[in-house]
């Protein structure tokens, strides 16, 4: 790869960005920051309360005011503990890691968010809860920015080799795991509050940023079909003249509980990889054909086998996309990449629409409260792609997951499998990939059923 030359004087000026105190972040990263750290250490020493998915799912059975208020205060106390743990973790990393432009955005966002929660007053009335829910949706909203920054920061750290790959993977996976937990807790509370409200009134106000009815007891087959269609039609738009691989589902349908957005994301990524590999493989082996002939070819199908036991549901996705070598296979699970790959992926990241998200600095704590009701402030162009994927949900989505899944066909981030793995881990599931080089690959996805032995405290991660 060749790069454009840079000005030496620019190097000189850029040194400022390597300093702990930078004028543009002076609100937080100033000389008092070090001395204010007692609050972080004292909150970080409190015990985080692990929450089981079962609790989250069942909590909504019989709602009353008491439950809602209790839930609100639980969230109010729990979130700052968890946020302080992440802040503390980042503080103990090397300076040049946490000072990375992207990771620093995350650090600051978490600190401000921690501070905002810390100053929340105890919730006593339902009105308090309404305000609190608006606050939570603002938090969810504004922290969409965190995921891309985490990922871009990881890639930059990979390019510089500032951290051993294993350590980096472990750190990022844990950050994302924790993030999922926090978001689910927040989203679930909002969901409960709305459900409670709709019991009592006919008007339902749904904050635009949350996932919707958190848990669905849905059909596996249907989920598979819907996500595959969305992915397929997007890929088709890139290759209007080619035929798309068929989707074949084998095995009986299964109904199981899942969090819709997460499952959509995981399926979408797996399908994306499968379809993409299949098309690319077909093109590779038929490069000698004319366009007319190419358009006649039927690529081999992608087959999904569904099976279920008492405790779990398993999916096997098989494609004929040409497979990959053992060496390459061993690298797909890692967030940290070699410097060359990381550079490529980072550049692709930069090209993505909609992920070039809110061009604003970390939200200051008071701004979580000050903002007018959801929706207006973030007309972030999340890419026209969303249209299809978005249809799966009842309300317009602004979710990083979707914009990630809907990215341009050509660009690869190399992050789909590690990300899916974090989400599967969160659900106590497993995700593995095997390959027959020259032929195709198989992806094995399993989920434990909620409310069984699988569902233990360890699923939640502070």
């Amino acid at each position: 790869m060749s790069y454009p030359p840079l000005k030496l004087s620019a190097f000189a000026s850029k040194l400022e960005s390597m300093l702990p105190f930078q004028a543009r972040y002076a609100n937080l990263l100033n000389e008092q920051h070090f001395y204010q750290n007692d609050t972080i250490t004292s909150w970080a020493s409190k015990e985080a309360h692990p929450v089981t998915l079962r609790q989250l799912a069942n909590y909504g059975q019989k709602l009353n005011k008491g439950k809602i208020i209790a839930s609100a205060n639980f969230v109010r106390n729990e979130l700052p503990i968890r946020l302080s743990l992440r802040v503390k973790e980042m503080q103990e990393l090397k300076f040049n890691i946490t000072n990375n432009y992207h990771l620093n955005q995350v650090y600051q966002s978490y600190w401000y968010c921690f501070n905002a929660f810390r100053h929340t007053r105890k919730i006593i009335t339902l009105e308090d809860n309404d305000k609190f829910c608006r606050f939570l949706s603002n938090v969810l909203d504004d922290h969409l920015i965190v995921l891309p920054h985490l990922l871009m920061g990881t890639l930059e750290v990979s390019i510089l080799r500032s951290m051993p790959q294993k350590e980096l993977d472990s750190f990022i996976s844990s950050m994302i795991r924790s993030r999922i937990s926090r978001r689910v807790i927040m989203e679930q509370h909002i969901s409960l509050s709305n459900a409670f409200q709709s019991q009592s009134s006919s008007v339902v106000v749904e904050p635009a940023n949350y996932i919707g009815a958190a848990f669905e007891n849905g059909s596996a087959h249907e989920r598979l079909k819907v996500t595959a269609e969305a992915v397929k039609s997007y890929i088709q738009s890139n290759f209007p003249n080619l035929k798309m691989p068929e989707l074949i589902i084998e095995g009986d349908d299964v109904k199981f509980e899942f969090l819709t957005a997460h499952l959509n994301y995981i399926f979408a990524e797996i399908f994306r990889n499968a379809f993409k590999a299949t098309i690319n493989n077909m093109l590779k082996h038929n490069g000698h054909l004319s366009e007319e002939e190419l358009s006649q070819l039927q690529p081999p199908p992608v087959i999904v086998q569904v099976s279920t036991t008492e405790n779990s549901t398993a999916f096997k996705f098989s494609d004929q996309g040409g497979g990959m070598s053992n060496e390459r296979l061993s690298k797909v699970w890692s967030f940290g990449k070699s410097p060359e790959l990381a550079t490529l992926y980072l550049q692709n990241f930069h090209k993505m629409p909609g992920l070039d998200l809110p061009k604003r600095l970390p939200i200051l704590d008071h701004q979580y409260w000050d903002k007018p009701d959801n929706g207006q402030h973030a007309k972030h162009e999340l890419g026209g792609v969303l249209g299809n994927l978005g249809n799966m949900e009842s309300s317009p989505q602004r979710s990083t997951l979707f914009s990630l899944a809907g990215r341009s066909f050509q660009s690869t981030l190399g992050l789909s499998l590690p990300m899916c793995k974090v989400y599967t881990d969160y659900w106590g599931g497993t995700l593995e990939m095997y390959s027959v080089e020259g032929y195709g690959s198989d992806v094995y996805l399993t989920f434990g059923k909620i409310g069984t032995n699988q569902d233990s405290l360890r699923l939640d991660r502070a």
Binding site: F11, S13, K14, N37, Q105, R360
Partner: protein
């Protein structure tokens, strides 16, 4: 150390005219503040205000959040390459080994093989060596700091020292850029390779280099205290301060030595064309009389003691010279202030290194004597061995014995550890007086470890033996220049 920064301006390589346009459109900074920002690129960071100032000169608070210009492409798409390249440059610099500098190296211009060179070429050659070594030492320091945990560098004391190094690097980069005509370019990930090829070639460039060096030298003068304060405040579970300080102090001393050496060389050669006639070559005093330096330290320490204790210690000195022809000469000096009446002990070396160590050891003996009401004089044995052959070197041994009741055994093991001190409260009077080496008479805890660093710099060493209840003896060993340096220059 202050700097006012208009951040989004400084992070781009903008031309002056564009900067001026932006000045007009900005709501947040007074014109004067911005003018300073733009000039800053030429004048240098020393003359700007702190980034931690939250109000600009016009009194408006600098706001972050949604009302500012926000994050822009500079940081993501285009900016990332610059950021990452800069970090890569520092990694590459830090990977270079510590420059090995010997006394003979520092004096190389004195040898006959170098005689053909004229003043200008000597200065230019030394300038290039110094520049190269400085880049490496500064890079290593920066890396050492950025390897500390994030929260540690957030400590204002640590941040201040760290900034001295980044500012120094900034000055050096700008200097190279100017020599290349300004607006020079480097390849994205190969800045290190590009910089390695740069050479100072003209006396004018050397003049500019001298100015930069002076700035850098002054910037770093008082930062040892900050380091001590910083480590005091930081959670020790997060960082191994001993190891950090060991490496840091050694490289700091080296950096100051090399900088000082070039600056002195320049001023020495200004009025002289014949290098052989110089009494000092760079930082090395060719006519250093150990007895004189000893006396100087003695007076200094006693002045301090007089203030605190209204008393002084006595020094009994025995001076032994072992000459290269095998003969020896011994002198007993009861009043060291009369050193001029005795034969000198000439040991070409860096005066302030020697002086620092004498100061520290005598301070310790003085304090111990005073605290324990001991009036017995401190005995000093000075032995200078001249080289027996051109390849042999000068050797100086100084044995200092006090009868001040000795040191507790559990303390002895830690004496040479950085940050360990037996005195609880540093005396502020002495702090005020003692500016050159940023130490106090007792209590900073850096005296002995620093002394060890100084002596070991050129293959010397220190040994200490204490008899608790009786007294302490310190053995100082220094290695000097080779015999051939002096003989060849004649």
């Amino acid at each position: 150390m202050q700097r006012l920064v208009a951040p989004s301006f400084r992070s781009r390589a903008l031309s002056r005219s564009v900067s001026r346009l932006l000045i007009k459109s900005s709501r947040f900074y007074s014109n004067r503040a911005l003018a300073i920002c733009c000039l800053g690129d030429v004048v240098g960071p020393r003359y700007l205000h702190t980034a931690s100032v939250r109000r600009n000169e016009g009194g408006q608070s600098i706001q972050t959040g949604s009302t500012s210009t926000g994050i822009d492409d500079e940081d993501t798409r285009k900016g990332y390459l610059l950021r990452v390249s800069l970090e890569r440059l520092i990694q590459d610099l830090a990977r270079q080994p510590v420059p090995t500098v010997t006394l003979n190296d520092l004096l190389r211009f004195r040898t006959t093989s170098q005689n053909g060179k004229n003043k200008e070429s000597i200065l230019v050659e030394n300038a290039n060596d110094t520049l190269r070594d400085l880049f490496v030492l500064i890079g290593r320091s920066i890396k050492r700091f950025t390897d500390l945990p994030y929260i540690v560098l957030m400590n204002p004391h640590m941040a201040k020292i760290y900034q001295c190094y980044t500012d120094s690097l900034e000055l050096l980069l700008k200097f190279v850029d100017e020599c290349k005509g300004g607006d020079s370019e480097v390849q994205a990930y190969s800045a290190f390779e590009d910089l390695s090829q740069f050479r100072i070639t003209t006396p004018e460039q050397n003049e500019r280099f001298i100015a930069v060096l002076s700035q850098i030298f002054e910037m770093h003068t008082d930062n040892t205290l900050d380091l001590r304060d910083g480590f005091d405040e930081v959670d020790m579970r997060l960082v191994d301060d001993k190891e950090f300080l060991n490496m840091h102090m050694r490289e700091r001393i080296l950096m100051r030595l090399l900088t000082d050496h070039h600056l002195l060389l320049n001023s020495q050669l200004e009025h002289v064309t014949d290098i052989k006639s110089l009494k000092s070559l760079g930082a090395i005093d060719m006519n250093l009389n150990v007895l004189e330096v000893l006396n100087h330290s003695y007076e200094y320490v006693n002045d301090m003691a007089a203030m605190k204790y209204a008393d002084r210690i006595e020094l009994k000195v025995k001076s032994v010279l072992l000459k290269s022809d095998g003969t020896s000469r011994t002198q007993n000096i009861d009043e060291i202030c009369e050193f001029a009446d005795f034969d000198p002990l000439i040991f070409p070396y860096i005066t302030n290194h020697l002086e620092y160590v004498f100061d520290e050891i005598l301070k310790n003996s003085t304090r111990a004597s005073m605290d324990n009401n001991v009036t017995l004089p401190v005995e000093v044995l000075v032995v200078l061995r001249e080289p027996t052959s051109p390849d042999d070197c000068y050797k100086l041994d100084v044995r200092i014995t006090d009868y001040a009741k000795g040191i507790k055994p559990e303390v002895v093991d830690h004496l040479f550890d950085y940050a360990f001190t037996t005195v609880d409260e540093p005396d502020t009077d002495y702090k005020v007086l003692n500016t050159t080496f940023a130490n106090v008479i007792a209590g900073m805890g850096y005296g002995l470890p620093m002394s060890l660093t100084y002596t070991r710099l050129f293959n010397g060493d220190i040994f200490l033996k204490s008899i608790y209840g009786q007294g302490t003896t310190v053995y100082l060993q220094w290695r000097g220049i080779d015999g051939r340096i002096l003989s060849n220059s004649l």
